[in-house]
């Protein structure tokens, strides 16, 4: 089992693309896209985020990344409302770069803290 990852974005395409890119270097990591307002438009969808966290949870924790501040608030809220809020965490990281770095760390078996710090310290130029 590995730490799971959820990509919270206002755009469904953006979330799906990040999953595709990060997944390429982390084939065994569950990375779930929670993008768009659920109606085909730009926006976030609290229920989709909550469901994504559930699907990404294998027992080892889930890391959430987001695109804009309002997506961060939705992600935070979804984590707070979990039965066990300690089982997931939102990370302040550049979305794409953090997702790739976090996914590679998760693939290597890093725990929740390890994936969080890999994502948070991702660089744009790598």
């Amino acid at each position: 089992m590995t730490v799971g990852i959820v990509i919270v974005s206002h755009s469904a395409a953006l979330a799906a693309g990040v999953v595709e890119l990060a997944g390429q270097m982390a084939p065994d990591v569950v990375i779930i896209a929670a993008g768009g307002d659920g109606d085909g438009g730009l926006g976030t969808d609290f229920e989709a985020v909550s469901e994504a966290v559930e699907r990404a949870q294998s027992g080892d924790g889930v890391v959430l990344l987001y695109d804009l501040g309002s997506a961060k608030m939705v992600a935070d809220l979804a984590v707070e409302m979990l039965g066990d809020p300690e089982s997931a965490a939102v990370v302040d990281a550049p979305l794409v770069e953090g997702a790739v770095a976090g996914a590679v760390a998760a693939q290597a078996g890093a725990d929740l803290d390890g994936v969080l710090s890999a994502a948070a310290s991702a660089l744009a130029d790598q």
């Binding site: 206002h10 976030t44 609290f46 608030m73 809220l77």
Partner: protein, 197 residues
């Protein structure tokens, strides 16, 4: 007048009517310094709230506020969803199981709502957000005074640069525009004050 669950539900319906009536104004404010959806976000969200209240009105003021919170959280995709949602959620917790809201409980709920919004969005007074309307409102004694304070607070955002939310990307170009979330907060509080009077 008494302030039981039905009265709180009526106040929420009044707020829904007001944000619906002011949809275009809020859209215009958000077009100037954001993505232009704030009016539609709130109209849609409160529309679902009214629908939920039509289906079944909860027994206590706290349960009504909680229903508002969960509906806004799940139906509003945008900053307003988690922010208004958290405000109503904290207000619901603050009033507990009380069957009637006293002025003290209302004041406590307002302070809790403010704390929730600050915890959620990390904005301070002066960051050109709804906190600029809610913070002065949470300091006064009555809903009527809170609404007036919120209106002043919303207007105080006009000369500011935004430090949170989408408008923060604009830098100096946000100056001269009222923050849409602060404006909607004042509208909602005025609707509550009038419903309670």
């Amino acid at each position: 007048m008494g302030c039981d669950a039905r009265a709180v539900a009526a106040a929420v319906r009044a707020a829904a009517a007001v944000v619906t009536a002011h949809r275009d104004e809020l859209v215009r404010l958000d077009q100037a310094i954001g993505d232009g959806d704030h009016g539609e976000n709130l109209k849609r969200g409160f529309g679902f709230v009214v629908q939920a209240l039509d289906e079944s009105t909860p027994d206590t003021p706290g349960a009504v506020l909680k229903l508002v919170a969960t509906t806004l959280i799940s139906k509003v995709g945008g900053a307003a969803g988690p922010l208004y949602g958290t405000a109503f959620l904290r207000a619901a917790t603050a009033v507990g199981d009380a069957t009637e809201l006293t002025p003290e409980l209302v004041a406590k709920a307002l302070r809790a709502a403010l704390e929730g919004v600050v915890a959620r969005g990390k904005a301070e007074v002066g960051d050109k957000t709804m906190v600029d309307a809610l913070a002065p409102a949470a300091e006064v004694g009555s809903l009527a005074a809170a609404a007036t304070a919120a209106e002043r607070g919303a207007e105080s955002t006009i000369p500011l640069v935004a430090r949170k939310g989408r408008a923060s990307y604009l830098g100096e170009r946000a100056i001269g525009h009222q923050d849409p979330g602060a404006r909607s907060t004042a509208l909602v509080l005025r609707a509550f004050a009038e419903a309670a009077s």
